[in-house]
Symmetry: C4
Subunit: 252 residues, 4 copies
């Protein structure tokens, strides 16, 4: 009985070769390294947040409820992006022994499917949460963080399928969606937001955190760091009564 | 004379095997690793704060007055939970050579005895102290930190002997007890507070810090990190005039 | 065809010996070490900022768009300062394989050519950006950060070709230039600012960050750290309504 | 000629054995380790601040103007406390090759001579500087930082030659002295302040930083950390309009 259970959950061929590599740039090595850094940055406090990488059709995912600074390559899930017809019945090519899949999985998948992203990062950064608490709905009933005339804005691509980056005078816009009691229930509104803001590389979740993606791990991380920098800067600007938008250049 | 003293305090059989292990998940290895992390987080500044782990009947404790980032496995005390009839006369199964037992010992014991916790963490975090300075007594002469509608609240269990976690709309409540001149004198009010708030996983001590526990080391650490995150967030919210409780969902 | 391209971009003799050294004080080893430290300080978030070192006629430069905490000696560019007649056509003695030269190159060069600096550091520190947001133009249409009567001011040299340092009562002055859409376009105003403020060791770029240089790596780093310390202190002073200039000594 | 100069400054018998030890608790190993930690805490930014240790009659000192996180045991000065009749002509038992003695030397010596301290720490912490900017002179023309009813106060000894520690309700008092253009000129007022406040373990220097000492390295570091914790807490309390002194217990 125990043996049957074991075989069902963890077949002898558990595809461990998919996560064991001596290449430090292998996704199963990069995710633990990223998570260690994110822990020191306060982005994945108390097991919140995480990161996922896609190479070709393979998606690598950190497990749920794990101390993020302690994740090991053998803790990583792998699935095939093209074979996930039913989001309620994920088929994993490779599963770790002692964990559960992350509730963020469908949200990471949205970035891979709808944007062809190579990496998606989710943070619970306090600066991201504070920004969503400082924003109000605009005339179109949208909530959008907007900032311009800050050099760090150049770290962001101008939009989907566009080569160039935002310029110093451009206005960076990050839309905000409402939080939901269950994280997987964010998927629908996240995907709708990606449709409404086709050029965004990130979506804030109100009173929760941030989802940010990029074509590569490096680009996703660069944008995650730059957004957190801008969120912290914007909170400090608010404390000092400095507006987020200025008319050095016309607001786009 | 000197020899006799030595033998009395440190018998030849000092049960060193209880703290020497090559398993990185052994409590005597985990406590030093946790304390190093807590030092970088500012939780155990100046030898304040600490952590204790229970496995079965054995309780592992860091010593008093030690630089927390330098603690070694051989510095750890071990005692049997079931054999501590008299709190004034602790019997240690294993004692380090050069230290004194921590004054926090009876408070850690309260979490083990009254909650069957597997780990208890004590921090002097400045955010915890500031929260206790910002709170006022409620109509029942209690002081309770309350926050709702923040994703990180989900890191907390719904209560003792309950499997599920708090939801996003739930209100996290952390009671506050008064500080006392001697740390061990907190024991009575801590235990009374645990009785009054049977579902809490943590108690704030006014102008002092936090006691937080969990079924496992991982769970206790997750809750300690998440509380500190919420305390810091709440202090920033106060500076920005954002209330801790909101009516997105009815306040429970 | 591929082979020809390869040879053009990366000749067999790529002068790799210029960046491979077992001496930890070799510029190609120091730049990665500095960048790792700067990343932890939040100065080079999201690939922004950087550092360049000059020894004799050789200038060592970090590449563009790279995660700064991951830079390796083999990623470093080398050029000869005396052989850069045309800033639009840089000739590199040694180039890494996979990168582009940094847009900061002409700004680093300005510090080497106009000041004979041995090291120039560029940060995107949020404190530097906030200072530029808190300043207003003075009567001469200049924007200048000024602070006095703080011990850390002694970390700065009194001026170009002067041996002594600023004193405690002296006023440290850091001029601010406007930011431009393309970083290389800052060169002209940076050089003009260096002419207008012949004694300054640093220039702030509005809503962007800081350029700071020194005779040696150690001196440049000391001044970069001290400026960031003063910027953060000054932001906190503003929050607490403490003026940056005081009359303990007459303002110079 | 060169040879003679060399012999004069660095005799063949340079007493290198005084700083080379495999014991990690040797002062010449502890000072570099402390300075690395202090750098990450922001206490010794830009070569400011430092630490000195005394064992018996030997005093170990870090050199001047060095990147504090890079100090090595061979960079340490050693002198004999009892043989420094003339503070203007220090006699060093052992000197490093490439450095100058620290300007803090006479201030460290004051703690060793007047208090028989085993370790003295000097920080430029921004929190210490801010505290001195927030204080005003009292009725006796003194400037004294006072805080009570915070648990961390227990980290401080009750006073010179007294075994016990301050209690929770006690008021911790740290006197402030004026800064001077040259650091060694602080010596006189520091020594006068130690006479005026015979029980203090620390003295703040206005717009400069902190000197703090202890019987042992561990005790000095514990008090330095605890003071910095209290200074940061007090700055945050001021921002939130919470007074530093409260009447939970009568103010001593």
């Amino acid at each position: 009985m125990l043996k049957i259970q074991f075989y069902t959950a963890f077949p002898i061929d558990n595809n461990d070769h998919l996560v064991l590599s001596s290449d430090k740039n292998h996704p199963a090595n990069l995710i633990p390294e990223l998570c260690r850094k994110f822990w020191t940055l306060g982005w994945v406090t108390g097991t919140g947040g995480g990161a996922s990488i896609r190479t070709g059709d393979l998606v690598y995912l950190a497990p749920s409820g794990v101390q993020k600074e302690l994740i090991q390559p053998e803790d990583i899930y792998v699935l095939e992006l093209s074979k996930q017809q039913d989001p309620k019945k994920r088929i994993y090519l490779r599963s770790p022994r002692d964990f559960k899949p992350s509730q963020c999985t469908p949200l990471f998948m949205a970035a891979f499917k709808k944007r062809n992203a190579g990496c998606c990062i989710h943070t619970h950064s306090q600066w991201a949460v504070l920004i969503t608490l400082l924003l109000e709905q605009n005339a179109h009933n949208q909530m959008v963080f907007e900032i311009n005339n800050i050099e760090q804005i150049k770290a962001f691509g101008r939009g989907w399928k566009q080569q160039s980056s935002l310029g110093y005078h451009d206005t960076l816009r990050i839309p905000v969606i409402e939080n939901t009691p269950f994280e997987e229930d964010l998927t629908e509104s996240l995907e709708a937001c990606m449709d409404e803001f086709p050029d965004t590389y990130a979506v804030l979740v109100r009173r929760h955190g941030l989802y940010v993606w990029g074509e590569t791990v490096s680009k996703a991380k660069q944008q995650a760091e730059s957004l957190d920098y801008l969120f912290q800067l914007a909170v400090e600007m608010r404390k000092l009564n400095i507006p987020w938008l200025s008319d050095i250049a016309p607001v786009a």
